[in-house]
């Protein structure tokens, strides 16, 4: 939002409050509502209306935000914002890739054991992570899966924050895993980054 000279802190705070509470709406619709409210406040100031009175007449920011959500849903015939947006789909793909990475890490032979028999013959056997470390190996393998699942199970309000946290931690885990488990998680981490960058609402 651009700042206009002459708009007070109280007005800016009120507008920011509406902006914050309508984050789930697509930006063209939300921007139009906010632009209308800004213009209204500018017109009120030009008409010599005291800023406190102008804000009081607009109503509570929470009520205006609730109206914006209600009108948007009425306009689109949407009972409530759809769960499956493009961002969700990308995050579901990240979860599937993380699970596939953990499955591969658990079941692909990644250890070799050389045994020398009494006859002096050497035999080399390949072993998986699970065979070598037992079920406790499942604990580190669960971490990337849980990280990728985090944004999918976070309420809409904290969705974007959870998406960023999930992507950053997945990248860190992928880096650490490359020196221990192997290169199993870069695809999941890349898709999680894409997911975190996508908007939380669909563009109208």
């Amino acid at each position: 939002m651009t700042e206009t000279p002459g708009r007070s802190d109280a007005m800016a705070a009120w507008l920011r409050e509406v902006e914050r509470m309508t984050r789930e709406l697509p930006s063209p619709y939300r921007d139009e509502v906010l632009a209308g409210l800004q213009e209204h406040l500018d017109d009120a100031r030009d008409a010599g209306v005291d800023e406190g009175a102008a804000l009081a007449r607009l109503g509570a920011a929470s009520e205006v935000a609730a109206d914006a959500v209600r009108q948007y849903r009425q306009g689109t015939g949407e009972a409530r914002p759809s769960y499956l947006t493009a961002k969700r789909w990308v995050q579901i793909i990240a979860l599937v890739l993380a699970a596939a990475g953990s499955l591969a890490a658990a079941l692909l032979p990644s250890y070799t054991r050389a045994t020398v028999t009494s006859e002096g013959l050497e035999s080399i056997t390949s072993l998986t992570l699970l065979e070598v470390n037992g079920p406790t190996a499942l604990i580190p393998l669960a971490i990337p899966v849980l990280l990728a699942a985090l944004p999918l199970f976070t309420p809409r309000r904290g969705w974007q924050a959870a998406s960023v946290v999930s992507a950053v931690l997945l990248v860190l885990f992928t880096a650490v895993a490359m020196f221990s488990l192997g290169t199993f998680y870069p695809p999941a981490a890349i898709v999680a980054i894409v997911g975190a960058c996508l908007p939380t609402a669909r563009r109208a």
Partner: protein, 112 residues
């Protein structure tokens, strides 16, 4: 039982968009003046609730906007009715009069 306020709020919600369309039909208007008039007529409680409605009407193609300079030199958005908006308003008028009469009649019967 809904309170008196709740009844009024719900009734207003149902008719507000048509009152806005009717007002714009009588002459292009900008947000601030529309809000003032609607509040003075008791059709909206807070002036802020007008803007989500205007955004929906514009998205729905019932109104469109043109920009003109205000007296202080700022660009100001004027709303005007589209043909679809006129059609919607005509449909409301056709439905409203018999409905209003029916409600008046029903209320009259209860009050007697």
């Amino acid at each position: 039982m809904p309170s008196d306020d709740r009844v009024t709020t719900n009734l207003r919600k149902g008719v507000l968009e048509f009152c806005v369309l009717a007002r714009i039909a009588s002459g292009d208007a900008y947000g601030f003046e529309l809000a003032r008039e609607l509040q003075a007529d008791g059709l909206i409680a807070g002036e802020g609730s007008l803007y989500p409605l205007l955004a929906r009407l514009r998205t729905g193609g019932l109104v469109d906007t043109r920009t003109e300079e205000s007296t202080s030199g700022r660009p100001r958005k004027y709303y005007r009715l589209t043909p679809a908006g006129h059609a919607q308003l005509a449909a409301f008028r056709a439905a409203w009069v018999p409905l209003r009469d029916a409600v008046d009649h029903a209320m009259g019967e209860r009050d007697d």
